[in-house]
Amino acid sequence: MLYARLITMRLMKAIVVLFLIIIFNFFLIHMAPGDPAAILAGEAGATDKEFLRQLRERFGLDQPIYVQLWHYVSGIATLDFGYSYRQQMPVLDLILQRLPATLLLTGTAFVLSLALGILAGSLAAARVKKVSGSLIMALALLFYATPLFWVALMAVVLFSVYLDWLPAYGMYTVGAGLEGFALVLDVAKHLILPATTLALFFMAIYTRITRASMLEASQQDYVKTARAKGLKDRVIQRRHILRNALLPIITLAGLQAGQMVGGAILTETVFAWPGIGRLMYEALMQRDYNLLLGIFFFSAALVIVFNIVTDLVYRLADPRIKEAS
């Protein structure tokens, strides 16, 4: 009951945000260089006056701006994101076709960074005054400062070019015609480099927050009690400290999900991973504004979905919130 109300509230908020993004996109199209008609038609650079006039009429650009806005918003409300003439396909189809690859990549990177980050962070917290603890934190600081696209490129040089361990680009071996388990294995092999490089930066963030939040939790009275009871250190670390330290980590993870969608643009570009990030790069190169804004809308929608999911997970992890709200 409470969950139902909560989800409805969050969904309504999400719709408002998406609506604002649509309006934002509309104004961006009008700000873009060249004639909006040409942009909507995906034909930026067309100079034929008569052709442009026809386009303007077709897209209703000869009408007042609020009528145009209405056309644009109602178009997107019916999932009409326009047509990408460069790719010869409706924008929606292009995005939906590429979405699964991005979900696979960001999903894997998300789980990987969270798992390794929490592990490294709790190790660092347990070894707070030791060299190994400082070493973990130094590494985290290093990964935090490393440009994502650069680390991806260097990984290609090291693991694909010199060591020849892993494929450098794509999602599966082209023309291999693999099926079933062999295909899964092939995709997994292609996934290792992009997912790991995407995860590194976020792992660094989770390591830092985990350590800080565990050190804070270890000052609490219930930890003293547990210690006084004579519980083993490892049990205290896991059951008493880590569990209570998890909440700020989940909150942060929800916020970072959005950044991960952004990071995927860079990783997918370097590894030629066929997701919406790569598609965004292609749209950028061809100045295909219609497609670019469509992807922008979808990535924002993705972030909102991520946020709602973390909100629900948060409530599962901490039942106290339910009583408070």
Binding site: P147, M280, L292, F296, S299, A300, V303
Partner: protein, 278 residues
């Protein structure tokens, strides 16, 4: 303990400061050591580092001097990092101050607005903005500022909310000071230290963002930047990995140094917190 002594107690911060000073020197010396445009073709392309005297880091695909590009790039990175952070502060500080000071409906409205910007994926928004406004130093600075002001607004708001009922604020109100005087002369000076710490970390993030934008081909076509150098050498990475390697190290060191300095500033400006942390 003096401010600098507290700062220097953090060894990492000291190292960061040294690296940062070196990078600033690089930026200042660039026009002196390499007076010619870094875009000029000066030697045969694809020279590896040290292959020819005077070309320590070799040349790129077009025969441009990589070392010259690195030096000039330092200037661009620092400039864009600093200016975009300044613009983000100009947007974020007033919004946060007004929301935190007045509270109520104004606060609600401004915070919804801030949340909206926080929901949109930063990097995707920056790409769209630069692509639409056309790549230039101005559009890049604006795009980075637009995606990075929300944390400033939230921080300033939180500080204002905790300070607005302090006794010295009430006293100022009693003497009849106007709201704007109280905001600017009473509360704002007391929120400066967390803002300074956040700003130093934001410069680091801004430099990373700029390099990522230039890497994707959204850099200002008139200025040499580290991200552009990596992006331009991407297609020849198999033959000449060093073309991408050195600019990446430059970005890494700059961002690392700024993060270390930020942490040091945090220790120095908030001594109580630093002691608690140890």
């Amino acid at each position: 303990m003096s401010f600098f002594a507290r700062f220097a107690q953090n060894r990492g911060a000291l190292i960061g400061l040294i690296i940062l000073t070196m990078i600033i020197l690089m930026a200042i010396l660039a026009p002196l050591l390499y007076p010619e445009s870094p875009w000029r073709m000066v030697q045969r392309p694809f020279l590896s580092p040290m292959e020819v005297d005077g070309f320590v880091l070799g040349t790129d695909t077009m025969g441009r001097d990589v070392a010259a590009g690195l030096m000039h790039g330092a200037w661009v990175s620092l400039l864009i990092g600093l200016v975009s952070t300044a613009v983000a502060l100009i947007i974020g500080v007033p919004l946060g101050a007004i929301a935190g000071y007045y509270g109520g409906l104004i606060d609600d409205g401004l915070m919804r607005f801030t949340e909206f910007f926080q929901t949109i994926p930063n990097f995707a928004l920056a790409i769209v903005l630069v692509a639409i406004m056309q790549p230039s130093v101005t559009s890049i600075v604006l795009a980075i500022a637009i995606v990075s002001w929300p944390p400033v607004a939230r921080l300033v708001r939180a500080e204002f909310m905790s300070l607005r009922h302090r006794e010295y604020v009430e006293a100022a109100r009693l003497v009849g000071q106007t709201n704007s005087t109280i905001i600017l002369r009473q509360i704002l000076p007391n929120t400066l230290s967390p803002i300074i710490v956040l700003a130093s970390l934001m410069v680091a993030t801004a430099i990373l963002l700029e390099s990522a934008l230039s890497f994707l081909g959204l850099g200002d076509p008139n200025v040499m930047s580290w991200g552009y150098m990596i992006g331009a050498a991407r297609t020849v990475i198999r033959q000449a990995w060093w073309l991408s390697f050195f600019p990446g190290i430059a970005i890494l060191l700059t961002v690392l140094a700024l993060n270390l300095v930020g942490e040091g500033l945090d220790d120095a400006l908030n001594p109580k917190l630093a002691r608690q942390r140890q």
